[in-house]
């Protein structure tokens, strides 16, 4: 033990360090090593008024304000707002694509007879009036809708209002099968899954989900209902498959010969009420399979077409024949396209012309192949990234929204701004950090609670259009 009392040392050390650090932060040292930029010391930052840190390209003005001919103006037969909106001093600002939380509908010369949601809303009307038995929605998206997120809630609300029971389309295998809570889905490991990301051979045509499944020796897939309202039993079950060449499968131990040489073929099964699950086993020639659909006799269906990691551009690889034949076997009245999370991989990027070009092609051909179907483009959700010290909305979000909006306007589709519906700028931070956690720490993906909320918001927006279309 040294005899000297060093009780003043902590004081010296702390004040000496503090003095040095304050000195260093005054020096404003700024240097980097290779690619690494060292951060400046700034001991007094907490006490300073923060400077105005607006993003550089904040003000994308609402596009196409002048192109009023495109925007179905309020009072039109498929108007976006009530007729009172005409009285508003500046109606355009109410329907600003960056801030409006409802659905905007557009018309285009190329699809003049099928603007916005008109066909879809008419189909809903017919369904409600009993003039037709089914209405279907194909909901395309990326990991944001994996495991039936968002679509499960949208489907549930729609089916409660318009009738119908069942999850719709389910692929043969899925990476998120165990995560999905709307159906119990298991499968053998020996299916060969061709999809967007693994360059399938040229003779393999991808199904609408972006996947085509080839069975191995005795590949199987099993589906069972879950104990939830509208999902607790199977009624009408159909299997979608590719060019068959007399393939054999057994379904619940009953052999079936798959015939048909078209790109999309359908086998309808009547589920006898005794068996409460479907087990499909390959038992002969390998037939390319797309998936199994679960419906009841009538009502509305939402098919979840999720594909992890894609931007939407990949849909351009679907063949026209497949899309058209799919429409014959499984008629869709509305296609929803929900992308963005994978487009915003560089948060500060604000030029999305590289995305606009291929997406224009995708929409051109889908519009052409599905002439009677309405389209809804869902603008990207808010995505935050860490800038300096805190999470803020990525500058790319509003830039991408402009591109998505313009795609909708140019193709005469409907457009719904999810970002605005979430609460606009900074909303993802609130969804992640709020008392009720609604999104993950990656500041991109919703959790179940958040997805349910998004499903509810979209339902509300769609129903708003439906009700407005009902008004004389």
């Amino acid at each position: 033990m040294s005899g000297k009392n060093k009780s003043a040392y902590p004081f010296y050390i702390v004040f000496g360090t503090l003095a040095c650090l304050v000195g260093l932060s005054q020096l404003n040292l700024n240097f980097s090593f290779k690619d690494f930029q060292f951060r400046k010391l700034d001991l007094l930052s907490d006490l300073r008024t923060s400077e105005n840190k607006l993003p550089d390209q904040k003000s994308f003005t609402a596009a196409n304000k002048t192109g009023g001919s495109k925007h179905l103006s309020p009072g039109d037969s498929v108007s976006t707002g009530g007729s009172d909106s005409l009285a508003a001093a500046n109606p355009d600002s109410r329907y600003d694509y960056l801030s409006y939380t409802g659905i905007l509908e557009y018309a285009s010369p190329e699809a003049a007879d099928n603007p916005g949601l008109r066909r879809f809303l008419a189909a809903l009307n017919d369904l409600k009036a009993g003039k037709r038995s089914k209405v279907r929605i194909a909901y395309f998206g990326d990991s944001m809708i994996e495991g039936d997120l968002i679509t499960a809630d949208l489907r549930d609300s729609l089916q409660h209002f318009f009738g119908g029971a069942g999850v719709g389309f389910v692929p043969i295998t899925s990476v998120v099968a165990s995560f999905r809570t709307t159906i119990t889905h298991t499968f053998s490991k020996d299916w060969k899954d061709y999809h967007y990301k693994n360059s399938p051979p040229s003779n393999v045509l991808l199904g609408l989900s972006g996947h085509t499944f080839y069975p191995g020796g005795s590949s199987w897939a099993k589906y069972s209902p879950v104990k939830k309202p509208l999902l607790d039993k199977f009624e009408e079950v159909s299997v979608l498959y590719g060019p068959a060449g007399n393939g054999m499968v057994t379904i619940n131990d009953k052999p079936y010969t798959l015939t048909g040489s078209r790109t999309v073929n359908r086998l309808d099964l009547r589920q006898d009420t005794g068996a409460q699950s479907i087990t499909l086993v390959n038992s002969g020639n390998a037939v390319p399979l797309y998936g199994v659909c679960f419906e009841s006799e009538n009502g509305i269906y939402v098919d979840n077409y999720s594909f992890r990691g894609i931007s939407g551009v990949e849909l351009g690889r679907l063949s026209a024949a497949m899309v058209r034949q799919m429409q014959e076997e499984r008629h869709y009245d509305l296609v929803i396209m929900h992308y963005g999370a994978n487009v915003l991989f560089r948060p500060e990027l604000t030029d999305y012309s590289w995305y606009q070009k291929p997406m224009t092609k995708v929409l051109d051909s889908l519009r052409q192949d599905l002439p009677g179907t309405s389209f809804l483009i869902v603008g990207t959700a808010d995505k935050s990234y860490r800038k300096a010290d805190k999470y803020v909305t990525a500058p790319g979000v509003e830039a991408l929204l402009k591109v998505q909006h313009d795609l909708a306007a140019d193709h005469g589709t409907a457009y719904w701004n999810l970002y605005a519906a979430m609460g606009g700028e900074g909303s993802m931070v609130k969804w992640v950090e709020g008392d009720t956690v609604m999104a993950n720490k990656d500041y991109t993906h919703f959790n179940r609670t958040g997805a349910a909320k998004v499903g509810a918001l979209l339902y509300k927006a769609l129903m708003n259009e439906y009700r407005l279309a009902q008004q004389p």
Binding site: M1, S2, K4, N5, K6, S7, A8, Y9, P10, F11, Y12, I13, V14, F15, G16, T17, L18, C20, L21, L24, F38, R39, L41, L43, L44, S45, D46, L47, R48, T49, S143, E146, G147, V175, V176, S178, F179, R386, A388, D389, K390, N440, K441, D442, H445, N447
Partner: protein
């Protein structure tokens, strides 16, 4: 531009920015405190008052007006313990003790567990009792246990009650251990209050080492790998492959250890610099080769508290083997519940309790057979033991950390059924820095304690200017690493 309003608002309680040892605010706070403390160093009473005032302010800054609860519980327990001490009647003593226990546990229960039980009642009866809108007062789990051990010690006549109320309030509010422990015993602490404020080179070196090591563990290791990797995995395990999940669990083992022990180290270091020795709270726990040893090395102040005030009063090992196993399991179950009001923590505690009981069986069996291993066999058993213990602890961490059972199971499901080892290189390339920090963390953890001791000696011998240089360089390093938004330490909610 300096902004005076902003300066003033920094001094007030802000629920969104609770004060942490690793925040800039704490640096200024500590500098001012150490100045005042040094000025008062020759007068015991002045020292106590200054320390207490700073501690209470720190409390206020951390949890607002809940600071009143600390003062209130100090008044109550100070007086109750005196009463217990004075009264000759055994039954009155007991009644008073029970009163103290009920008051302390009641307060803790009210704030921490009411909503949990409302939830259970609602679930069982399909009722709709509204939840209480309560914020857990920071540190309440720690000071409740300190109050209890003090009163029980007085009741057991192991210590005399404190004569000066200020001393007791000082003990209870002592800011270094306020938020995250360790749980300090009055018997250890109170005698140190009246010691003169003298520091040796050893105190300076040890204190500085603990503060630096604590900050390093908290910021460079724990926060970094948590924010950049682990949190994503636990947020949504089903979105990640089994390999990612497994690495995430290993990462979390490091995160929780470095976070909690880093905070404890800082508390010990600051206490040491102000003339107080607090026993260590962690002793390289992942070096343990069995679960019994783990609990002697992990959160020592809690496990020894549970041993002295729960396990032994329950009967400990004095009432036969079966009772001993039950006591062990029960103690750990309650210990788990102490960590938070959820089934996950209860389950976590139960698993550890069960493992401890099983380990007891193993130890007894070895004793009976007088089995002693030596040489390479002993080394092999030790390595296997360390691996098994570590993996068991990790398995339990999954339930500790996952926000729901569903999440915990889906993480385990991913590891078991969706491992996908082929993504290993992509994973490494995606998180290179994180994995190197993890490797460094584990290597440091397995260093012998000799290395630690020599660091302390070197730091203790440095002249003042040398110490300042070391700290400046270290802070500069931290600024480079530190994600500026301070993370709420994981043990905060306890």
């Amino acid at each position: 531009m300096f902004n005076i309003d902003k300066l003033l608002s920094e001094l007030l309680y802000d629920p969104a920015n609770p004060v942490l040892f690793n925040s800039g605010f704490f640096f200024y706070f500590f500098a001012l405190f150490i100045l005042c403390y040094l000025l008062a160093s020759n007068n015991k009473r002045a020292r106590v008052i200054i320390y207490t005032v700073f501690s209470l302010y720190f409390f206020y800054k951390a949890c607002g007006y809940y600071v009143g609860l600390v003062i209130l519980s100090a008044i109550v327990d100070y007086n109750l313990s005196h009463w217990i001490h004075r009264t000759p009647s055994k039954s009155t003593k007991k009644t008073l003790l029970v009163t103290s226990i009920i008051l302390n546990i009641g307060l803790l229960f009210y704030f921490k567990y009411t909503n949990f039980f409302i939830g259970i009642v609602n679930d069982l009866t399909a009722g709709h009792i509204p939840f209480l809108n309560l914020i857990l007062p920071i540190g309440i789990s720690f000071y409740t246990f300190e109050n209890l051990s003090y009163t029980i010690d007085v009741y057991r006549e192991e210590i005399e009650p404190v004569n000066d109320f200020m001393d007791y309030l000082f003990f209870l509010s002592f800011f270094p251990k306020l938020m995250m422990g360790p749980i300090v015993r009055a018997a250890d602490f109170i005698p140190q209050i009246s010691q003169p404020y003298r520091l040796s080179s050893e105190d300076i070196g040890k204190g500085m080492y603990l503060i630096i090591a604590g900050l390093f563990k908290k910021i460079v290791i724990s926060d970094f790998i948590y924010q950049n990797f682990v949190q994503y995995i636990f947020d949504d395990p089903s979105k990640h492959t089994g390999l990612e999940c497994l690495v995430g669990v290993y990462g979390y083992a490091l995160v929780i250890y470095c976070d909690f022990s880093g905070y404890s180290d800082m508390a010990l270091g600051i206490a040491r610099w102000t003339g107080f020795k607090i026993p260590p709270n962690f002793d390289s726990p992942y070096q343990s080769s069995n679960i019994t040893e783990f609990w002697r090395r992990w959160h020592i102040s809690l496990s020894s508290w549970l041993r002295d005030y729960l396990y032994i009063p329950l009967g400990g090992n004095r009432k036969g083997k079966v009772r001993q196993y039950i006591n062990l399991a029960l103690t750990m179950l309650i210990g788990g519940f102490w960590h938070g009001a959820s089934w996950n923590f209860i389950f976590w505690g139960a698993m550890h309790g069960g493992a401890l009981a099983l380990d007891k069986v193993r130890i007894d069996a070895l004793k009976k057979r007088k089995a002693v291993f030596a040489g390479w066999k002993a080394a092999l058993f030790k390595v296997i033991g360390i691996l098994i213990t570590f993996h068991f602890v990790c398995f339990c961490w999954v339930f500790f950390k996952a926000s729901t059972f569903h999440d915990a199971w889906s993480l385990l499901h991913q590891i078991a059924y969706d491992f996908q080892p082929e993504i290993a290189m992509d994973l490494y390339n995606g998180y290179t820095a994180v994995f190197w920090v993890m490797i460094m963390g584990f290597i440091l953890h397995f260093l012998p304690s000799k290395a630690e001791f020599s660091m302390e000696t070197i730091l203790g011998r440095l002249p003042v200017a040398g110490s300042i240089a070391v700290l400046v360089i270290f802070v500069w390093l931290l600024v480079q690493v530190k994600s500026t938004q301070p993370m709420i330490p994981i043990y905060f909610q306890f």
